[in-house]
């Protein structure tokens, strides 16, 4: 479990960052996810995708956090500099990537997380639908709406 967790840490952090749009919140989310995964390790079925299980835990924690945050009314924003850790060395590519990340950060959360899972994590539409607990048609419409919005934002 611990080795599997270590392998997924960066991806979890990336998912947490795009959900929360704040590096400090993302770190807390990843930490909480790791703690919960270790606590509930007996609920994980060996041989199944650990990453999907961890993503589901992180999403669950995030939703709970969101509910609490609605009361506190905290606003956050993506910091492209943080998002580009381990990023490309080419300056031009990094500038473009920062623009893309900033644009993604402006998308509504449902679109943002779907974009991350499909384009960031490489999940198929069906896998993303399963992970998010939504119909595949919803994944398709979210991505189409997101791609259209990104095209406008990146013009």
């Amino acid at each position: 479990m611990r080795r599997g967790l270590e392998r997924c840490l960066t991806r979890l952090w990336r998912y947490a960052l795009l959900l929360s749009k704040a590096p400090d919140v993302a770190e807390d989310l990843v930490q909480a996810t790791c703690v919960r995964a270790i606590e509930r390790a007996d609920q994980y079925t060996p041989g199944t995708r650990l990453d999907r299980w961890l993503f589901a835990i992180l999403k669950s924690i995030w939703l709970n956090e969101q509910r609490a945050r609605r009361v506190r009314g905290r606003e956050t924003s993506i910091d492209p500099e943080n998002a580009l850790i381990n990023g490309a060395k080419e300056l031009e590519t990094n500038i473009r990537a920062a623009e893309v990340l900033t644009a993604i950060g402006r998308l509504p959360e449902p679109q943002r997380e779907t974009v991350l899972l499909v384009y960031g994590e490489g999940y198929s539409y069906a896998e993303a639908a399963n992970l998010l607990g939504i119909p595949i048609g919803t994944v398709m419409s979210r991505l189409a709406t997101a791609r259209s919005a990104l095209a406008r934002l990146l013009e």
Partner: protein
Amino acid sequence: MGDEDTELVALSDNELDQDSRSRLLTRLEEDTELRKRYERLQETGGGLSRCPRFVDL
């Protein structure tokens, strides 16, 4: 966002079934406006794939 754009995005992501794919490709050959929309959506997809965080990890 119409069903057409949803299909165009799915096509660019290689997520359409064979029948839908063939049908849409035929339409793209015939419809210039549709082809322009597809190319515009593909450009956005290219932006996503060029994002370092999205390809380097």
